[in-house]
């Protein structure tokens, strides 16, 4: 008797929960569909993939004089621009690393090598999202302009500052309005890492003479490019993307420029 009662109770509760879940999911779906026409001037329409926003420039936001003029387009166009930038930065930093090695700035050479690897990771990460959006990643690789290591560090700092303060924040705005999680993740990760690169370049410039001896290796996250200059990593997972620290790449040798 008791057993059949409890069996019935389980069935009733199960049915009730299923009905509740169905109503909730159906309600949420209708709510989702219902919001689109109700918001003619809403954010969704203003920056959707299907209807790209009017091209805008954000040169006025650039913190460095002579920074390139930024064209903000759709998420796909922005990712293409970011892919181009990261691919060129990779090549440029490898050339800077070789120059630093030649001039005897060994620590700076390691820094450029690590940054080059991080930029390569950013480029690959952007490329994956571009492909997901139906595009083909393309980059116009230019021959890098290599000067003295001090000038190269200054140029690198300028490039990173432009990316972290202007380019990525503008691209992120569009990706966030698009609610594109993949694009937000890759742009956000790159922006965070460019900030680290800028700080590392600034520190190297502040102690240029100290760059002549190797004091510490660098570590690069294989997923987001998180770059750390330290003897050992003091975290178990990447603070940006959660990749285990034991998967980080140790940079203790200068890479050959390709």
């Amino acid at each position: 008797m008791l057993r059949s009662c409890s069996r019935r109770l389980v069935v009733y509760v199960g049915l009730l929960l299923s009905a509740f879940t169905l109503v909730l999911v159906a309600g949420c779906k209708s709510g989702e569909e219902g919001t689109t026409p109700a918001e003619p001037g809403g954010m969704k329409k203003a920056v959707s993939q299907a209807e790209p926003p009017a091209k805008t420039t954000a040169k006025e936001n650039a913190t460095e004089e002579g920074a390139p003029e930024l064209k903000v387009g759709t998420t796909l166009e922005n990712l293409q621009a970011a892919f181009d930038g990261e691919s060129n930065a990779h090549k440029r930093y490898l050339a800077f690393a070789a120059k630093a090695e030649e001039e005897g700035y060994k620590q700076a050479a390691l820094l450029f090598t690590a940054a080059a690897r991080a930029e390569e990771i950013h480029a690959k990460s952007h490329a994956k999202v571009i492909e997901k959006l139906g595009g083909t990643p393309t980059a116009d690789i230019k021959e890098p302009e290599v000067k003295t290591t001090k000038e190269n560090l200054e140029a690198a700092l300028k490039g990173e500052t432009y990316e972290k303060n202007t380019m990525y924040p503008e691209f992120l705005k569009v990706a966030k309005a698009d609610k594109n999680a993949d694009a937000i993740r890759t742009l956000n990760g790159a922006m965070t890492v460019e900030e680290e690169h800028a700080a590392l370049y600034q520190a190297a410039l502040d102690d240029l003479e100290g760059q002549k001896a190797i004091t510490s290796p660098l570590w690069v996250c294989p997923v987001c490019g998180h770059t750390v200059q330290a003897q050992k990593l003091d975290f178990s997972n990447c603070p940006i993307c959660n990749t285990p620290a034991d998967q980080f790449e140790k940079i203790d040798q200068v890479a050959a420029a390709k």
Binding site: K29, G31, E32, G34, T35, K179, I184, G189, F235, I240
Partner: protein
């Protein structure tokens, strides 16, 4: 005015929707544990209710950590905010582990009568008191990590993908 229901959230945006459930369930559960202890000899219903709350709360903790990890790459924060986020994650994983162990422990307590039919208050009360001390420690960690989550939202402006 028509009711507009929220859209079905993406996995990366689920974190703020799920985190409050385990907090509430796991904080309410000890009230049922205490009632279950007091009425141990008359009914086991409160103990079972406490166990259900703990199972649901712990399952919620697992979903919260997983959805939090999915959301972390989408958060734009400064270096200080990233440190807070790392600590938040570290404590959340500790909370998940602690409540998984506590739930298993309480399930064992609830199952005790199956193995020893005559359990006097002399055994039941001390066992519960030890459990309460351990549980209180886990609740403190839960409170600390929840506060860090609150700081991320209200101090560092972290927003979920909605």
């Amino acid at each position: 005015m028509p009711i507009s229901l929220p859209p079905v959230p993406k996995w990366e945006g689920l974190h703020p929707l799920v985190v409050h459930f385990p907090i509430a369930l796991l904080i309410v559960a000890p009230l049922f544990v205490a009632t279950g202890m007091l009425l141990w000899e008359r009914t086991r219903a409160y103990a079972v209710a406490a166990l259900i709350l703990m199972v649901l709360g712990t399952a919620g903790a697992w979903v919260s950590v997983a959805s939090g990890v999915a959301a972390m790459g989408l958060a734009t924060v400064n270096a200080e905010g990233r440190e807070v986020m790392a600590r938040h994650q570290e404590l959340a994983m500790l909370v998940r582990l602690a409540f998984s162990i506590l739930t298993a422990l309480y399930a064992a307590i609830v199952a005790l009568p199956l193995f020893a039919k005559r359990l006097t208050p002399k055994v039941v009360v001390p066992v519960h008191l030890v459990f309460f001390v351990l549980y209180a420690g886990a609740v403190l960690v839960l409170a600390a990590q929840s506060h860090l989550g609150g700081r991320l939202v209200h101090e560092f402006g972290v927003q979920a993908l909605m």
